[in-house]
Structure formats: C-alpha cells, structure tokens
C-alpha cells in the first residue's frame, strides 16, 4: 500500500485493511493502526497546527501524551463529532473520518501562520502589557480578535448521540499499567489467589514490550513470552484485565477512576453499547506501574514535522510496522535513543548519525553502532533544524568543554529522533498528594511519602531496563500482599539481552546562537519556547507556578507531560537554583483528557435526576394537567379545559372550589410519624407551638424554626393517639425537617423515648375543599360521622374511605370546609377516581398548585419559602399566635431575643391592594415609599405572592414590608420599568375574614 510499512514488523492485522479519511482524503491502514500510525505509513507527517503560531506539526509521540497531532474525529451521522482527539491514540476503523484543526483555509496553507512571523511580539505574557489603549478598543476590537483565535478544534454542534456507563468495582489489588512491571506484579499477585484488576490504556497488554525489539524473556522471544503471559493472566478467574482503560484519577481511600473506551475503535458498535464507561475501582492496594515518559530535547526547530521522540519511532516500527522516515539523525543525551537507532537501522532506515551531547558513551553501544555503520558524534549537538513542513537537514555542532559550540555543517535527513532522558510517570501518585523527592543524581522526581496504600513499580521509580522493571513489579506485588498480611512467592523473570542504560538531563541543547533568538520549543502545543521561560523568570516569576501561568507552559492538552520537566530545568537554569527550589506543579486529574459523557455516566435526560411522581400523577397526565417541578416532585399546576390558558383554568378552578368543591392531590406533602411516650415533649421542643394538651383525634398548625430563629417549615400536626403524632411538612421541606428532627433527637435529646419514621410515601393525600366537600366524601365513609358537631374543624379520625383504610383530617388550606384523606399510596388513584365520579354530581373540579396558591392567598395563609425566605421570624410573618407563650424553650426561641430580631423596622408580612384592581403585581417586585422615585431607591420590601382573585374580582398580593404592621392603611409604590403602581397596605386575610366558611 505504500513504502513506509516494514515487512514482518508490527502487531497490526495485515489481513484486515481499513479505510478512513483525513481532511477529505481517503487513506488505508490495517486493523490495529492508530490514525497517526496509518498516516505515517502513508508518508503523512503534517497532522496539525500549533495553538499560537500555527506552526506545522507532526506527531512527536506515539501515545496519549501527544501534544501536536490533534484532530477532529467522527464516525459520521449526527452527534458523533469530537475535537482535539489525539491521532496517536485513536484507532482507525472502517468509516472513520478525521480532520485537521486550527488552520485556515487548509492544513498545508494556513493564513494564521503569519503569527509565526510576528513571534517576537508575541513573547510570554505580551497580552498583559498591551491592548489597553484606547480603553474602548478592548471589548470592541482587541478581545474579539483574541477570542476568535482561541481554541484548537471546533466544539461539537449537536447533542451527543452516544450513551455512557459507570460501574463500581471492589478488588484486593489494582495494577495500573501492563508493561513489564505491571505484568510481573499481576502474575505474582494472580498466582497467589488475591483478586486483581489490571488496567492499561492501550488496546493490548505489554506496554514497552510492544515497542522494543525482541529481547529474550525466560528463554523465549519477548513476543511469545508476552503471548503466553497474557494467556495465563486471562485464565485466572481472580484477575480482571481491562484494556483501553485509562486510570484518570486517584481519589481518597484508594479509589481510582478508570475511563474505559468501549466503542470508539469499532466500525459497527452494538446498538445498546455505551461509548465509554467510568469504573470507580476501590482497591485495598494499588500498584502504579505507569512507566516513564521520554523527555524531548530543547533546541531550535525541535518542533518541525519529522522531529520525533526516539521511543515513538521505535513504537511505530515495532508495534505498527511503520518506519517514520528513510534517513534519520538521532540526537540524545540518554542511551535509550541508541537502541532506537539500532532498531530503525535494522529495519532499513538509514541512520545518518547518532549525535550525543555526552563525552562518553558505553563501548558496547558504540560497537553496536559501528556494526551498523552509523556515524557516532559524541560531544555534539543539533543547533537547528531546517525544513518547514518536514525536516530536510539538521545543523550539527561540536561542543567544547566550556560549552562553546562550533558548527560542523549540516546533515540531510527526513527524520530527527530525540531523547532527553526519561521522566517517571507519577501523575496518579501526585493526585494522592504523595510527596515527591528530587533525585539529584538522575535529575528526576521520585515518589516520596505516601498518603494512600499504593506501591510504585518500575519506570515510576526511575528504573530503566526490562529486568529491573520485572523485578520491581514482582517486588511491588509482594509488598502489596504483605501489607494485607499475605505473601507471594518470588517470581523470577529473566531477561536476556536486556537494554540497560543511563543518561543526563539538559535544559537546552548547547548552542552559540542567542538564547533569545532561538525557536526552541518546550510546550509544543502552546508554542512556549525556552526563551519565553527565561523571559518570565527575568520578569520576576520566581516559582514554576508563576512561570507556568505566565507562559502557559504545561497547560496544553498533554497537561505538561512533555513540557513540565524541561520548563522546570530551564527556569532553574535561568534562576541559577536547583530545580526542586523552583518547585514542581502538581499534576491534576484527569491523567488524560476524558469525555464529559464518561463523567456524567447514566445521568442524562430522564435519568439525569429523579423525578418523583405521586400515585395520582398518572391520572393528572391522562387528564391534561400542566405540570411544574417542585423540589424533586412534579406536580399538576392546573387542569386546562379545551381552549383555556392558565389564567382561565385557574379562575374556573377557583370559582368551582369556592362555589361547590375542588379536589387536589396533596400527596407530596411531607409526613413524619412521631411515636413514643415522649412524642409530645419532643414536638414541644421542636415546634414553636404547645403540644402536650392537644387531645388525640385533634390537630394543630405547627411552626418550625431553625436555631437561628427563622422560619424553616410548617404544617398540620395531628395526634393519632397519646403516643403517636402524624406530622406534615411542606413538600420541599420533608427531608430537611426529618433530618433536623433526627439531629436534635439523636445528638441532644437522646433521653427522649420517641422515634421518627418518614411516611410521606405511605400515604396518598387527597384534599377536598369547598362547601360541598362533605357531600363528596359521605357516601364512602365507614366508621366516621362527618357532621360538623362530630367531626369539627381540626379533627382527625382513623377510618375507612371507599373501602380503604384511611386517616381523615378535617383541615383547610383554602378557607373552605376541607378534608384531607390519607390512604395507602397504592390506592390513591383508585380513591381519586371514586371521588371524581362522585364529584360529577356536584360540579366538582380538580385543581392544581396554582389554584391552591390563589385560594390560600385569599385567606392569607403563607407558603414557607415563598412568603417567607430564610430571614423571616414568626413575628415578621404575623404568626406570633403560633408561639407557645408558656414554653420555656423550643428550637430557635433564644434567637428571637437577639437585638436585630426586636427592631420595629423589620420586614413584616402584609397584604397589598393595588389602586387599580386589575393590576396583578409581579412577584418579586420591590416596594418604595409612595412618591419616591430616586435611584438608588430606598427599598422597603418586596411582593411575595400576587394573584388575580377570581373570588374577589380583583388582584391581591402579600408582601414583606419594612415596619409593615405599622403601615396598615397607608399607601406604598411598586415601581416597575413601564409604570409605577400604587397600593394600599392591608391585613393578609382578603376573604371571609371571620372564618365562617371553614366551620360549615
């Protein structure tokens, strides 16, 4: 298919060709390829443009740390596009379409690249120093231009068509990373019988074993050893292997979040399969075997397509069977790149030179290089890279002892492989707030003190060789088991022909060119150069945290994996301080960017959050109710007949209820059963009202304060028997009230013999209100006389209604004769339908929350949370009568005596009648003195409730008003944008002030 595949190499499936597109051009790869490997196999290196300077870029890595090769991907169809996908991670599948980003009009010719010409102006932090004059230009000119250049890819434009999942998993041991140390740990632990979970972000296990030329392991080729090992691991029932599963975050108490990709590699995913799944794995012990990341070298032109990590070239060759070029120069400060050079040379790549900045390199390596006719340049450096969209030549220089560099000319090549040493991957360890210590000799941070039960193995501890990694993996598993009091036999895995090595760390490659003129990139994606970092330090940014924020180094989508250590080294060099004195920015979750959908899991649409519905809700839905959300419940708001809007429906519901009878689903009201010999005493302490003398069979309004003296909740409380109360709460307050009661009961008054049980959902509650309410109920009563004498207002009975056991309350929230029937929930709808049928004889209506609000407001009954907020006392709300005057104490009583609670200027609940009876004030409208038109105004309060009262043929309102009780009869103004309304302050009872109707 092209010239770049190497026969006999790679773990791709050469029997399965896969077609995909990149920027509209169709390409072919093999199953197992990533987009990057497949494009490289087609000779394409240019895959993206950088953020600020729009410089042409190719993949610099072969893994999830890739900063350059970011693309948009889609499987086609609506809602399946996503930006900023790393081409080095995305597997190809038939039908995959990909596009390059941050370019216009095309990747090859990008107008934005003009920024690169102006790079001297765009030094670190330049935007803090300019765009300030003239001031008005900021929002009109500068910021729009800055914003227009923001971002890499484009946002998805349609709702996501996929679903996501999540799962909890508990295990003895979680191993993150299935390279040599992870595999060794897994083998050791699995053989000992403990539960093990092994996760790896790649499509197959093996880690670096997949990328390196064969060593011999236990006398077998690495390939066959790996195959056998994977087979063995898969056979253990106590071991669970997850691939394409990235450990993204390490949370408290050994919980690791693992994002598993399920379908993004499949041409035809199963219909109901989620795209990704978030595993929340709680492990007794965790082994972090994440290896190490190769560090780039910093030199002029190090970002050109064709400049690549040496290990990445090795991966492309050995894992994907792709050679990344035909003629390569290798520049390094570490032995590992030598091995990469050998692998590529053995695969037919012409290695033009190995340029090593070090003066001495092991004889063994040099001999191996000579064997392959590779030119060795010790104490040499690359001073610059030529070629724009692909490397064409590199300039080499000889480094003298004093650091002086003398040019020795250029070498032609199409690829430059670099290696600046290795950085242990301690991201997850860092999430735990584990400390890092600086290994001065190797110039790396290594794990220090731990805060969680975790063990680091292999590359993460700075170990560099297969043998060391295997041994350390075994050791880590033994340690993990030991801390569980178990032991595992030592497992020995012998590596033959192991590649050992060492190296040094450079801040920048030596060069005689002006430090401030070089284009030596540190953060590739964000276009942060070594010069930017040095400049930041000179501007007084003395800590790496300031440097990072000032330059944006490390803030690209690789989150500093490629740039942090080099940035630190350069800042330290500029400051003349050792690196640990300059600091290390902490790594934050997630380890790699993770889809929002994966975090949200199942929580989407109907499953986003619970919607609670009563047993009667289905009837309301069938009968055309309009609903409103009230806390977690949905409640019927009104029941429009054909042609009615809300206003018409509510007016009719009000009329019918006052004239005859209305039926209302009150099931959402909170209910708490308070039982025990001390039940009355408990309520005495909780509520403002007295309870001891309330007789069984009677009920009373109850008012609950917080300890701060402000109203929290209210409701009718009925005494079922001496030791048993039926407490009702507001719909939204049910859970809070029960929690508050339990808190006081368990932590302050554990001496009381009383217990609380939520019965909100035990009962369906049907409220009947209106002069004919009794007529609706009577035919269905067994065991209770409903006459006014036998069953007066505020009485309750346990009885049978319509054949269902019931608790019947005679209460009213409308001012009319009222009953509330509680029957076991599953019978709610049945009883509702029985009563509805009966109601047809009496012009009964059903009504919703809106009519309930109007009817209660006409009577001046408050709704906690609407007519009160968290700043209203019982006195403010006109509820002084509900305070038991003889009670020594109740929750909140002491707070009512604080100086501010006694001020006459507090806001108090009053009624308002507008001068124009047709004006319905807006709830939330503010009130000022009559005639006051100043701005800022002296606001006296606000309208809490306001309705058209069909009963009274005019508008009514309630308001919290400064010194409101004293203002009774005076006028105030309600200034609205279009007009100021005048109103008279009144009492809050607008209808039936003598309360006669309630006693009918």
């Amino acid at each position: 298919m092209n010239n770049w595949r190497v026969d006999g190499k790679g773990r791709i499936n050469r029997d399965k060709r896969v077609r995909f597109t990149f920027d509209g051009v169709s390409f072919e790869g093999f199953e197992g390829d990533t987009v990057a490997s497949a494009l490289l196999a087609n000779g394409v290196h240019l895959m993206g443009r950088s953020f600020k300077y729009h410089r042409p870029r190719g993949p610099v890595t072969a893994g999830s740390e890739e900063p350059n090769a970011l693309i948009g991907t889609s499987r086609g169809g609506s809602g399946r596009f996503e930006p900023n996908t790393r081409a080095t991670v995305q597997e190809i599948y038939e039908g995959l379409t990909t596009v390059s980003q941050n370019k216009w009009p095309s990747l090859n010719f990008d107008v934005g690249a003009v920024n690169d010409k102006l790079h001297k102006l765009f030094a670190a932090g330049f935007y803090y120093k300019t765009f300030m004059w003239p001031k008005s230009f900021w929002d009109k000119v500068y910021e729009p231009v800055i914003r227009a250049s923001a971002g890499l890819g484009v946002s998805p434009a349609e709702p996501d068509a996929d679903t996501y999942a999540s799962r909890y998993l508990h295990t003895d041991l979680l191993i993150v990373g299935a390279g040599p140390s992870g595999l060794a740990a897994a083998l050791t632990a699995a053989r000992s019988g403990v539960d093990v979970v092994l996760v790896d972000e790649h499509r197959e296990l093996g880690g670096s074993l997949l990328s390196e030329a064969p060593t011999a392991i236990d006398g077998k080729s690495a390939e066959s050893w790996l195959a056998e090992t994977v087979a063995e691991l898969n056979a253990y029932p106590n071991l669970r292997v997850m691939t394409r599963a990235t450990a993204i975050g390490y949370y408290h108490e050994n919980m690791v979040g693992v994002a598993e990709k399920l379908t993004d590699h499949l041409a035809e995913p199963p219909a109901t399969a989620p795209r990704e799944r978030m595993w929340r794995i709680r492990a007794q012990e965790v082994i972090l075997a994440q290896g190490a990341l190769e560090r780039p070298l910093v030199f002029d032109g190090n970002d050109r397509p064709g400049v690549m990590m040496a290990s990445a070239a090795q991966t492309y060759l050995n894992r994907f069977g792709v050679k990344v070029g035909n003629a390569a120069v290798v520049v390094t400060s570490h032995d590992s790149a030598w091995y990469a050079a050998f692998d590529l040379a053995d695969a037919g790549v012409n290695i033009a030179a190995i340029v090593d900045v070090r003066a001495s390199v092991s004889e063994h390596l040099q001999a191996e290089a000579r064997k392959r006719d590779i030119s060795i340049k010790l104490e040499h450096t690359v001073t610059t890279v030529l070629g724009k969209k692909r490397v064409s030549r590199v300039k080499l220089g000889k480094v003298s002892e004093d650091g002086n560099v003398s040019g020795i000319g250029t070498v032609s090549c199409d690829t430059l492989l670099m290696c600046g040493g290795w950085t242990p991957s301690l991201h997850l360890f860092s999430h735990t707030k584990g400390s890092l210590h600086w290994d001065a000799e190797n110039e790396v941070f290594l794990p220090g003190e731990k805060t969680e039960r975790c063990h680091i193995a292999g590359g993460g501890r700075g170990l560099w060789s297969q043998q060391a990694a295997f041994d350390d993996g075994v050791h880590a598993a033994q340690q993990a088991l030991a801390s569980r009091g178990q032991s595992a036999p030592a497992l020995s895995i012998d590596v033959d022909g192991d590649r050992t090595g060492s190296g040094i760390i450079m801040e920048e490659l030596p060069s005689n060119d002006d430090k401030f003129a070089r284009r030596a990139f540190v953060d590739f994606q964000n276009d942060v150069t070594a010069k930017d970092i040095r400049l930041a330090v000179r501007e007084g940014m003395l800590s790496i945290e300031h440097v990072k924020r000032f330059t944006t180094n490390g803030m690209a989508t690789d989150q500093g994996k490629m740039s942090n250590m080099n940035g630190l080294k350069i800042a330290a060099d500029e400051l003349g301080r050792p690196a640990p004195k300059v600091g290390l920015t902490t790594f934050r979750p997630p380890y790699t960017p993770t889809s929002f959908g994966t975090f949200a899991g199942y929580h989407k649409d109907a499953l986003f959050e619970v919607t609670r519905k009563t047993n009667i809700d289905s009837w309301a839905e069938e009968n055309g109710a309009v609903f409103e959300p009230v806390s977690l419940w949905r409640r019927a708001r009104y029941f429009p007949k054909t042609g009615e809007g809300m206003h018409g429906a509510v007016a009719r519901e009000c009329r019918q209820t006052r004239a005859s009878v209305g039926m209302f689903d009150a099931s959402t009201l909170g209910k708490i059963e308070v039982v025990g010999p001390d039940a009355a005493e408990f309520l005495n302490r909780m509520y403002t009202n007295p309870w001891s003398k309330l007789a069984p069979g009677r009920c009373r309004y109850g008012l609950l304060l917080g300890e701060d003296g402000f109203i929290r909740d209210d409701g009718v409380i009925g005494r079922i028997s001496n030791d048993r109360f039926h407490v009702t709460t507001t719909t939204g307050g049910a859970a809070r009230v029960l929690t508050m009661m339990e808190h006081f009961l368990q932590t302050e008054w554990s001496d009381l013999d009383v217990w609380l049980t939520s019965t909100t959902e035990q009962w369906s509650t049907i409220a009947l209100n209106g002069p004919n309410a009794r007529k609706i109920l009577e035919p269905f009563m067994e065991g209770a006389d409903l006459s006014a004498e036998a069953f007066p207002h505020m009485a309750l009975r346990e009885c049978t209604v319509g054949g269902f056991e019931a608790r019947l309350f005679r209460v009213s929230f409308t001012g009319e004769l009222g009953f509330e029937v509680n029957v076991p929930s599953e019978h709610g709808r049945a009883l509702w339908e029985i009563l509805y049928e009966e109601g047809k004889k009496h012009d009964m209506c059903v009504y919703g929350t809106e009519t309930m609000h109007v009817l209660r407001a006409e009577k001046g009954y408050i709704i906690v949370g609407q007519d009160t907020d968290g700043t209203v006392t019982p006195v403010d709300a006109g509820l002084s009568w509900a305070i038991g005057k003889k009670k020594p104490d109740f929750v909140g009583k002491r707070s009512l005596k604080r100086p501010d609670m006694l001020l006459p200027t507090r806001k108090q609940l009053v009624g308002l009648l507008t001068e124009d009876p047709n004006v319905v004030l807006e709830e939330g409208a503010q009130i000022v003195e009559a005639g006051d038109t100043a701005i800022p105004a002296k606001m006296l309060g606000h309208v809490t409730s306001s309705y058209w009262s069909e009963t009274l043929g005019r508008s009514i309102a309630m308001a919290l008003l400064e010194g409101g009780f004293e203002r009774n009869g005076t006028s105030i103004d309600i200034p609205m944008p279009e007009k100021t309304h005048r109103a008279t302050v009144t009492g809050t009872v607008f209808y039936d002030p003598d309360g006669e109707r309630i006693n009918m």
Binding site: L121, L542, D869
Partner: protein, 417 residues
C-alpha cells in the same frame, strides 16, 4: 518601573527582551511596618496598592506563606457580577464592578476584564420569583440585570438547551450585561506590580506563625520563621487560612473552610460568549479567551484544607452542564483542581475591624471572593487607613453574628416549597 505599552513591547521584541526587569522585587522582610497584610492574593495585594495610592501609606508589607496569587485568586472560575439582592451586597459588588472597569488602565496591566454578561438560569417557578425579585431590586439599586425569556436566552447563547421537556427546563434567565470575567492571575500580578512600584514589600514563602498583641491588647506584630516583625496595624486577608491565623490573636470566627472544585475542558473555538450559571443544578460555565470551557461546582460537603475534593461532585457538575448544554457531552475534561473557601453562616463576607485594636479582617467570601477583588481591596484599605469602615463595608461586621443582623443572600433565595 517602566510603563507597559505597545511601544515598550515592540522595543523589547526588537532588542530581544534583554532589558526586562522584574515586575515586582522579591522583597526582604524589614523589622517594622506601618501595616502588614497577611495573604498576598488579589484582595491583600489590592489593599496594599490602595493604601499606598489613596492613603499615602507605603511602609506596608504583604506577606504570604506561598507564592503571591497562589491561593483562591489563581484557583477560581473568574466570574464577576454584582446582581446581588440586598442593598449592602449590591453596593459592595457593584463598587467592585465599577473598579474592574478601568482596572487595566489604572494598573497599567491588562487584567482582561471582559463584560460578556452573566446569565443565571431559572428552572422552576420558585427560581422565576426569586430572580425577578433580584432583577427589580437591582434595577432600583442602579445595577443592571434584566429578565430574558427562554427564547431570548437561547438567542444570546445558542448552545443552550431550552427544551420544555428537559428535566430542568429553562423558564427564563436573569442577565447582567456588565458582568463577565477577568484573567485571574493578572489581577494579582497587576496589583503586585503597582503596589511594589509604590514601595510596598511583597514577602513570599513566609508563613505567619502568630499575631502578637501588646500589653494594651492592641496588635504588636507578627511572628514568622524569619523573625518577629513589628506592625502598627495588621490586616488579615488569608481566605481559607484565616481561622488559623486569627486564632493566634485570640479571635475566634464564624468561619468554616470547604473544598471547592473547578475544571476546564480542552480548548475549542468560541461557541458561546456569556457566563451561564444554574443554581438549581449547581453548575456554572464560561469559555476562556483560550477556548477552554471553565466549569465550577458547589462546595464539597465536609470541611477540608486538602484541596483534593471528591469524584461524585465533579460527576454531578458535569452531568448538570451536559443537561444544560447537551452538545458538550463529547467535550473532554482537561484538568480539575480544588481550592479552599472560607464560608460564613450567612455566606456574606466579614470586612472590617475586629475586637482587637489594630487588627482588621477580610474573610468569609465563600465562593464569591474573586468578583469583589478591587472593591473589597479598596474599602478594606480605607478601613485600615482610617481605622473605621468605609460606608460600603460598614454592614459587613463581625458583630452581626451576635446581633442577628445577617446579610443572607442564600437564605433570601430560600428554597423550593
């Protein structure tokens, strides 16, 4: 100190930036100051700047246990707004907005104050009532804030989901145009540079061990690992660390410190301009000048200084954002971080004098401290200089928790019934 301008920038570019100078010196601690401010965040540095500029007090140190701007100043989601309900709060935050507008020019440092507007979504009837209450109060207080229908909200912010069948349908929104965002680090740096230019010492990496009081009970100075420093006045502006510092002066506070988490997505091209907030689903979102979606959530449930925060809260926040913006479900979270916010019982700040002579307090901003930075710093400087509060911060006393005169914005928003 040289002035920043396009010209100096050009000069720098042409000369290879060889003559750049530190934006602020890393000062040595002197033995005595007129005023020491504890906490080198935006509030503390700003107060030092205004002390020097408006009150001529320049023998000032700002001292921090870490690097300047390393606390909540550099960890927040940069939202600025002033559409608060109560007169006291509206005045305080609106004072800040007035100062934000022009701060770049004042400091000669581009803080990128961007008045892109803040949209607060109403999802139920109760929200509608509450937001309208805010809007009317704001209008009469001279604070801009208008009501948008769902359609108007969608027109301003196209990715918004206004489907009436959503679990939390958008029933409208309150919109403040003067509100927006600013570049958080630049605020700290700009104040630091401008304060240092007027002679203020910025002392980094120097924890305060204790506040010492003299025989008369008034403040005497600070104990630090670098020795004792005398001070006539001490002003504590240490956010999450305030309780611990104030405790050494014998002042116990009504504060609790909670973790607050925030996150950003990978950067994308501009997709919506505003800040969008939803209190009902507990999430807020804006897009930075770099293109990242900046997302904030509520506080975790337990007090903590660990700055770790839990996964469930983040999961909930993201699920909420995806309900409001279903197109973002395929976006990716890039980085999540945590801050520590100090919260008072009424969730309004304490800003003023303390029972200790010469000791001043600026704390309790909860999740809302960044937006107030210039206003708070300005009136705090006044309070320190004059030993009496500015009229704007006069209500934000410590004594209100004794008298009951709370300024409880959250309680005013009440709860669904």
């Amino acid at each position: 100190m040289s002035k920043f301008s396009a010209l100096t920038l050009l000069k720098g570019a042409l000369t290879g930036y060889k003559n750049v100078e530190p934006q602020w010196p890393d000062a040595e601690l002197k033995s005595e100051y007129d005023v020491i401010i504890v906490g080198a965040g935006g509030h503390g540095l700003g107060a030092a700047y205004y002390l020097a500029k408006e009150h001529g007090i320049t023998n000032v140190a700002v001292i921090d246990k870490g690097w300047l701007g390393g606390g909540n100043t550099g960890r927040n989601t940069t939202i600025i707004r002033s559409n608060y309900l109560y007169d006291e709060s509206a005045r305080l935050y609106d004072h800040a907005v007035d100062l934000w507008d022009g701060l770049s020019q004042e400091l000669n440092y581009n803080v990128m104050f961007s008045q892109r507007g803040v949209m607060m979504l109403a999802h139920n009837v109760h929200d509608v009532q509450s937001f309208k209450r805010h809007i009317h109060a704001n209008r009469l207080n001279g604070v801009d804030n208008v009501w948008l229908t769902p359609e108007q909200a969608k027109e301003k912010c196209p990715p918004l989901n206004i489907s009436p069948t959503a679990r939390y349908p958008v029933m409208g929104a309150a919109f403040q145009q003067r509100a927006g965002t600013a570049r958080h680090d630049a605020v700290a740096w700009g104040y630091a540079r401008a304060a240092a230019a007027r002679g203020v010492d910025i002392i980094q990496n120097c924890p305060v061990l204790s506040i010492e009081r003299g025989p008369n009970g008034a403040v005497a100075g600070l104990q630090t690992p670098r020795g004792f420093v005398k001070a006539k006045k001490i002003a504590v502006s240490a956010a999450g660390g305030t309780s611990v510092v104030m405790d050494t002066a014998g002042v116990r506070l009504p504060l609790e410190s909670y973790p607050l988490q925030a996150l950003v997505s990978e950067p994308v091209k501009p997709i919506f301009p505003q800040v969008v907030m939803s209190n009902t689903v507990h999430a807020y979102i804006s897009q930075s000048d770099k293109g990242e979606l900046v997302i904030g959530s509520g506080t975790d449930q337990y007090v903590s200084y660990s700055q770790r925060g839990g996964l469930p809260l983040i999961e909930h926040t993201i699920a909420s954002i995806c309900e409001v913006f279903p197109i973002f479900r395929r976006m990716r979270m890039l980085r999540k971080w945590g801050g520590v916010v100090d919260v008072t019982p009424d969730r309004s700040p304490i800003l003023g004098k303390t029972p200790v002579q010469g000791l001043y307090l600026n704390c309790g901003w909860g999740t809302g401290g960044f937006k107030a930075t210039p206003g708070s710093a300005h009136v705090f400087a006044h309070t320190i200089a004059k030993d009496e509060p500015h009229p704007i911060n006069a209500p934000f006393t410590l004594s209100r928790f004794e008298t009951g005169r709370l300024i409880d914005e959250a309680a005013a928003a009440a709860v669904a019934h």
